[in-house]
Symmetry: C2
Subunit: 408 residues, 2 copies
């Protein structure tokens, strides 16, 4: 028998958008309609900020067709926030929730958002307000504890792999050193996904630097020099979050200043500075002339038209399962994706929110090579299914060389 707690469902999105985050909201909205104790389904605009401001839209007055259309649209259809509620903020949220008889709260987000769910849940208990609060995972960084992988990662990884496939072709056509700077503050998963661009044996990225290993500029230059000597070119993937051995992010080291968001995180994205610094190091240190860098930036998380079909389905299911856990099992927590076997199935479990909230999962050691400048076969096996089906593939001419006449 399902939970008979009657009242409204509230769903919201927090933190950085992903290409499939709307799938989870739509999963909640469509699944919740199946339970008679749900009187209405509200969506808060701009996350917890929309709860404080009482900015709700009534998703029970949305058509199924339009919900499906929005599910296929990247970024946060309910809009997002970087607000991090404290005790006072939560008390204001409760007042609004009580006034609207909200009894089920689903928050789709990453580490910071899961911490928000944890605080809200504690506050609800302290205030004796009966509330089911469930966190639904999303993050392109793939850095949530308890999860084999997170909704949003597969699609962003697909973008990165397609980008580096093109970069490989471009850097082969006009040879040089190319640096692609990929999102990832503390976890290198997304940067590592660039390795899925490797089809031919000499394809890049030849070097991959993740925040899990210290970044030492001398080693970096030696690596680039070696690859460049061997191939006459070098393609590099770098996490925006790489740090030097004392833990200072390279970008802070470069800029000499930092900008922080309200969660106290240093701003890494939305600037090309890190790529430019590394390019200059190569030009100055190795005397290579053609050095280029791109910072993939926001395209990675919101590009229109690139969704991993598997990622989209799992994001939907995570939303559906959150509702089912709340309704059938009457419990709180965080939905987590488990992978019972490597090749390939998933299972959704509800785990204690404390296991996820505010914590960061890193690349396990068996995913990173010994030199700290690339990934392992284990990582490739782990990551490949997440990118979804019909990944576009490059092709090379394989016509034979013509015998030389003049330059024999």
């Amino acid at each position: 028998m399902s939970n008979r707690l009657e009242g409204k469902v509230l769903v919201a999105q927090g933190g950085g958008p992903t290409p499939v985050i709307n799938q989870s909201v739509v999963g909640v909205a469509l699944e919740a309609r199946k339970f008679s104790q749900v009187t209405s389904i509200y969506g808060a605009l701009h996350g917890v900020r929309g709860i404080i401001d009482e900015n709700f839209i009534d998703l029970t007055r949305e058509t199924t067709h339009n919900l499906e259309q929005v599910a296929g649209t990247p970024s946060s259809g309910l809009l997002s926030t970087r607000d991090k509620p404290d005790e006072e903020y939560c008390q204001r949220m409760f007042k609004v929730m009580q006034a609207h008889d909200i009894r089920y709260f689903f928050y789709v987000g990453g580490n910071d958002s899961s911490d928000t769910v944890r605080i809200v849940n504690e506050q609800a208990k302290a205030a004796n307000y009966e509330l089911r609060a469930i966190h639904i995972p999303k993050t392109i960084d793939n850095d949530l504890e308890e999860n084999d992988h997170c909704p949003g990662f597969g699609s962003a990884a697909r973008f990165v792999a397609q980008a580096f496939t093109g970069v490989n072709l471009d850097n082969r056509a006009l040879k040089g050193v190319y640096i692609g700077v990929v999102m990832g503050r503390h976890a290198g998963f997304l940067t590592a996904a660039s390795a899925l661009a490797q089809k031919y044996v000499d394809d890049g990225p030849h070097l991959i630097y993740m925040p899990e290993r210290h970044f030492i500029i001398e080693n970096f230059l030696a690596d680039v020099d070696r690859v460049y000597q061997q191939h006459g070119l070098c393609t590099i993937a770098v996490s925006e979050g790489i740090s030097d051995p004392d833990g200072t992010p390279m970008i802070v080291k470069l800029l000499g200043k930092e900008e922080r968001d309200s969660h106290g995180n240093v701003q890494l994205s939305g600037t090309g500075a890190l790529g430019d610094l590394l390019s200059n190091s190569i030009r100055d240190g190795l005397g290579i002339k053609r050095v280029r860098s791109d910072t993939f930036g926001y395209l990675q998380r919101s590009f229109m038209g690139i969704q991993s079909d598997r990622d989209a389905r799992e994001a939907r299911e995570a939303g559906e399962k959150a509702v089912q856990f709340a309704m059938w099992d009457n419990c709180d927590g965080s939905v987590a994706i488990k992978r019972p076997v490597l090749d390939y199935s998933v299972d959704y479990q509800l785990v204690p929110i404390e296991n996820v909230a505010g914590k960061t999962r890193h690349m396990p050691d068996n995913f990173i090579n010994a030199e700290g400048n690339g990934v392992t076969q284990d990582f490739l096996s782990y990551c490949r299914p997440l990118l979804g089906s019909n990944l576009p593939e490059p092709h090379r001419l394989r016509a034979p060389m013509v015998p030389k006449i003049l330059h024999k």
Copy 2:
């Protein structure tokens, strides 16, 4: 009756890659096989450099299937070069061409490459060497004279439109100022294509700056301030080639130094510096905190998996037509795409190479708005068909707001 000049065909690619440049090479290779006077079809590796070095592959020993696969792959399958031949360079090219009995030369490229074809052709005539030399247009910049539009532009424009569609969604979710820096040295077509991302009335880009108009930082800040006041956010597209009123590229002004390629062009791509400069101007000048910039960089021209189907077909046809002009009409020149009526058909003509070589086409005045910070309906009508079919489209929730209880 077709031209009976017997000998080999040589095809090569020069300059920056495009997503469909291989379509033109494959068009040449497959069409040339239909003419019995063609003894073999060679591809030069790395453009004119491959001719000097006698690095040819024999495309008559390629399978049709693999040619079709390569046609669907972005970037230059025959690899490319930035070399710009002078008289002595051309004489070395002739020696090689004569030794291999090459009588048909097809060079796929932009302004600089068309100038190469012009020089080669003049040299051939001066040396009394019978040679058909035809330039096949390609450029994502869309800046070739005589052409309504150029193969490569439609696919790059599609990438830019899809990118800005995502950017619109992202910048709506977490409001701020966003600057996307788009390729385009002297011509603003590709930057202008960002306007195709506008679906909803308040969608960005709200401001578009093209190299055809002087960039005046005070006007820019006033524009941003006005949009930000109105929408609480501002999405901006900027050409990498924008210059101040005295003609100095903004990036040179910023960096205080310049890097040039062998054609004497200032290096604009492969650095995030321009976006960072403009971001800082907004932060300092307007006091807006959340300002982000991305430089789309090489992804625009080589991203794996985004081709405009129309662009791909036209690039193929341009290659086929080049062969047909050489064989049936026995003449030299540059293939140009004409558009007899606005909506939508194309015609291929062979125009004198001098009309194209080394020249740059700019956005016509009727494509740019009076304020110089956006595009007109004429441009939208011109550009839309080039992006191809099934352009992915964003969708918004349209559920009604819930009446407020506490904040009435």
